[in-house]
């Protein structure tokens, strides 16, 4: 069923059942997100896609569009700043040392930081010590950088048994990302690359991959995350 709604005051048409993030990008409006992967069930963990729906703050990935909805993405200064604050929170909660990170230039968190014009975090940087996990032969976990999006937990599974390879242990400030080293050892090189590319930060690192692309020719330097998100829709 075709429905009508407005995004930043502009009337748009959509099919019911689609989520706000997809409808917005079909209409050329970029909403940043760090956990949502188009075509996969949404996770709703990062909240970076927060928008105002009829005046209330909602995550654009989990919210299906409805007839008559009024959505504010960039028109409302408060929601623009809220999204920026959410990205800043992630930068101060983990230890995101871009200058020393293999994922720099290919990192969705970094690229999103640029899109929301983050120069510095308004929150105190915490510098929590975290242990790197080298147990698997295929990947290592740089826990400093995990943002708990749970993409790997839900979308990377052992191809034979369907078991989860990644999991989150503990709750709240004690949470940590864990890996089943035995299952991870059985991952094919393609699956390893899928998992490390799926990770929006530099937490899951493919042991065969390093600083492969020179500065200036890295993924988001060739084309920004915003252009990539909008381009997918026009294909």
């Amino acid at each position: 069923m075709s429905i009508k709604l407005t995004i930043d005051g502009k009337e748009v048409h959509a099919r019911s059942g689609e989520n706000i993030i997809d409808v917005a990008s079909q209409n050329g409006v970029y909403i940043p997100s760090l956990c949502y992967v188009k075509g996969k069930p949404c996770l709703g963990t990062c909240r970076t896609c927060s928008v105002k729906v009829n005046g209330r703050v909602m995550a654009a990935c989990t919210m299906p569009v409805a007839d008559g909805m009024e959505i504010e993405v960039n028109d409302d200064a408060e929601i623009v700043d809220m999204r920026k604050a959410l990205v800043e929170l992630l930068f101060s909660e983990g230890n995101h040392n871009c200058p020393s990170c293999e994922k720099s230039g290919r990192c969705e968190l970094q690229a999103t930081g640029y899109e929301v014009d983050m120069m510095v975090s308004r929150f105190p940087y915490r510098f929590t010590p975290r242990v790197v996990d080298h147990a698997s032969k295929t990947v290592f976990l740089q826990r400093d950088r995990c943002i708990f999006c749970q993409r790997c937990v839900d979308m990377v599974r052992d191809e034979r048994t369907g078991k989860k390879i990644f999991s989150i242990k503990g709750r709240g400030t004690h949470s940590s990302i864990e890996i089943d080293a035995e299952l991870a050892n059985d991952m094919t090189p393609q699956q390893v690359r899928y998992a490390s590319d799926l990770c929006p930060v530099g937490c899951i690192i493919d042991k065969t991959q390093g600083y492969d692309d020179p500065i200036g020719q890295r993924k988001f330097e060739i084309k920004s995350i915003k252009d990539r998100a909008l381009e997918k829709e026009h294909r």
Partner: protein
């Protein structure tokens, strides 16, 4: 301006020098005073300051550069309009210099990852300071065999802070240019905007964290 520096310290601008031609001095004093200071960093951002290259020439009728990698005096000799600062705060001397610099700059700008959030030196923040000292001076793998194991401590040595701090946690910082280091393009953009009264605007495509 007065300095609360150490008893044995003489700053270069306090040394006896031939006075500048009064006309040149008056012209220089009438310009916008710009400085760049370095704290706990690698001076890479200061090299980016030099990467403004010949573009700085177009601003020189409006701008006078006091302390920077062009001049290499230790501290700013007088009040500045625009102060750039690279590096984080890692010891008591950094705090002293930064506080004095803040007092004497109208606009203070953090330049680079170390100034903005601590950067590479802040990698020690996840290790207790005592362990850092032990690794560096007592159990150092590169120590000369048989050398006496001493953790340096003297009243003339700055005291190391427990953690490396971003500058805005010590003094008020007005603007931030991230990057490790930021490009000379970003620095000239910011400087040019201020000189022409346009205010701070670092565009998305110039923003970088590495």
């Amino acid at each position: 301006m007065s300095h609360s520096h150490n008893k044995n310290e003489i700053l270069s601008h306090e040394l006896p020098a031939t006075p500048l031609d009064p006309k040149i001095k008056a012209e220089r004093d009438a310009k916008i005073q710009v400085a760049m200071m370095g704290l706990c960093g690698c001076w890479g951002c200061t090299l980016s300051f030099l990467d403004m290259d010949e573009r700085i020439l177009g601003l020189l009728d409006k701008v006078a550069i006091t302390r920077s990698s062009f001049t290499d005096v230790k501290r700013i000799p007088h009040r500045c309009t625009i102060g750039f600062v690279e590096g984080g705060v890692a010891n008591s001397e950094n705090i002293e210099i930064l506080e004095e610099y803040r007092e004497n700059c109208d606009i203070l700008i953090s330049v680079g990852a170390c100034a903005v959030w601590g950067g590479v030196p802040a990698m020690r923040n996840v290790v207790p300071l005592e362990e850092c000292f032990v690794e560096a001076y007592v159990e150092s793998p590169t120590a000369v065999p048989g050398a006496k194991k001493v953790i340096p401590f003297h009243e003339d040595l700055p005291i190391i802070t427990t953690k490396v701090l971003p500058l805005h946690e010590v003094v008020k910082i007005d603007y931030f240019i991230p990057g490790c280091p930021p490009d000379g393009d970003a620095i000239i953009k910011v400087l040019d905007d201020f000189v022409h009264g346009r205010g701070f605007d670092l565009p998305t495509e110039m923003n970088r964290y590495d």
